[in-house]
């Protein structure tokens, strides 16, 4: 591998964003306030969007911002603020189940690593990976992945209707 093949700026960018994401992810679980946790989660999700930009996956990055920061996190904050969101540090945010969570997290990570390693082995991304345009993404979704897309839409529709049925009093 030639020295000129290494994308220095991109790697430095990746490292900085990844470090911010790791710190953010740790703060999500260690912070003493629910709203702070949600805001640190915003940092992690924005970092993921930045990584997509770094990989020239524009559409994916914008979708990440739109769906996760613009919708999911707003709903998170909305929900916590409507119910309980006190100012300042809060006690007993941790419960005993945290200990069970640890081995499960390790298990999940191991599964993912094995699956990735098994699936790709020594395969490498081409140095000049082709730019994926929005048109190609949509051709894929509405072409060969049409059926899964429909199935997903129906699941979401069912969930939305279910939520309305549960929330209605009459």
């Amino acid at each position: 591998m030639l020295a000129s093949d290494v994308l220095v700026a991109q790697n430095v960018g990746f490292a900085i964003i990844a470090a911010i994401m790791v710190i953010g992810a740790l703060r999500v679980v260690t912070t003493k306030n629910v709203v702070h946790a949600a805001l640190w989660l915003v940092v992690v999700l924005a970092g993921a969007a930045a990584q997509y930009i770094l990989l020239a996956a524009e559409f994916l990055a914008v979708t990440q911002v739109m769906v996760y920061i613009g919708a999911v996190m707003v709903l998170f904050l909305f929900g916590t603020m409507l119910t309980r969101a006190q100012i300042g540090a809060e006690k007993d945010l941790n419960n005993k189940n945290a200990i069970i969570g640890l081995p499960i997290a390790v298990l999940l990570l191991a599964t993912m690593l094995i699956a990735l390693n098994d699936g790709f082995k020594a395969e490498k991304l081409p140095a000049d990976s082709p730019l994926v345009t929005t048109q190609q993404v949509s051709d894929q979704i509405f072409g060969i992945y049409l059926l899964p897309f429909w199935a997903l839409s129906f699941v979401l529709l069912a969930a939305a209707i279910g939520a309305i049925v549960l929330a209605r009093r009459d």
Partner: protein
Amino acid sequence: MNAVLLASDLPYWLQSIFRVVGGLVAVLLPAGTVVYLFLFKMLSFMQSRLGPMEAGPYGSFQLFAEVGKWLQKEDIVPANAQPEARIFKMAPLIVLASTFLLVVVVPFGPDALFTDFETGIFYALAVSSISVLGILIAGWASANKYSLLGGLRAAGQLVAYELPMVLAVVGVVIQAGTMNLQQIVVAQNTGSMFGWDGIGNPYVLTQFVAFIIFMISVQAELSQTPFDMPIAESELVSGYMTEYSGFRFLIFFIGEFATAGVFAMIASILFLGGWGVPFAWFGWTTIDSVDNWMNFAGPLILFAKMMALVFFIMWIRFSSPRLREDQLQRFAWKVLIPISLVNIMLTAVLKVAF
């Protein structure tokens, strides 16, 4: 297009400086003009008074005086909000950051643009929703019931009206066949109606329903009357802005009017042909054959169209009463969204048919 000094010829650091300065101008200039012309002067004339007349000719320097006043004020954090002082101080910056992110994709001329983002309009809609975060945490960190209620109302309203806005834009995207704002401009100005290309094909004619829905949603996203429930002064003091003073209030204030300007720019790009004039007037065929002077005329044309749209936003703001919270939500979910869905369906059918 040949002897032009393209931004890409310059070194990176010089480009970056140009971009930062350009972004500041593109955000602050419309905001200042809108505040002076509409908030100070038009509102006064509608109420049969003169408005500010002392500072500068016809009071045109009033805004500088106001900014100077705000900058001198003390940066107060309420006692109850002290534990969250950092978040309290951060919130207005998030709102303003969303405005600056928004202006990045706006094209001002054939070459006068910050970035030629392929997913332009989608990006604009995505980053505009970041401001909701700022408003929510501003309401929460103020440690004040009225502020929290204002923040929650704002979030509910912004989420509700983002949907019709996105759906209205889909009609334009289907017709133009692209999400790139620059190409949407070109598609409108090279288009023709039944073979006549005298005024191109501005989408305000073919997508009139989408245009109306988009403008209503903009009105709601900016929480201007009749959609100003979040800052309803008679019930919530000033909503999420209640506890802010000095330059943090100024940032909210700039954010509100700068976002009005940028949204009006985006609306004029989507529906009124943006920076362009119909290319047939000067015998241009594609974007590459557009003369260089459009890089200077383009921003002015866009600015004129923007001012026209902001005039309507402000006109409605100054002359209509406030909706009730439930009416506001019902209007979005039961009126605007179904209409915009029908609009998408019709556009798609017509697009395939022709």
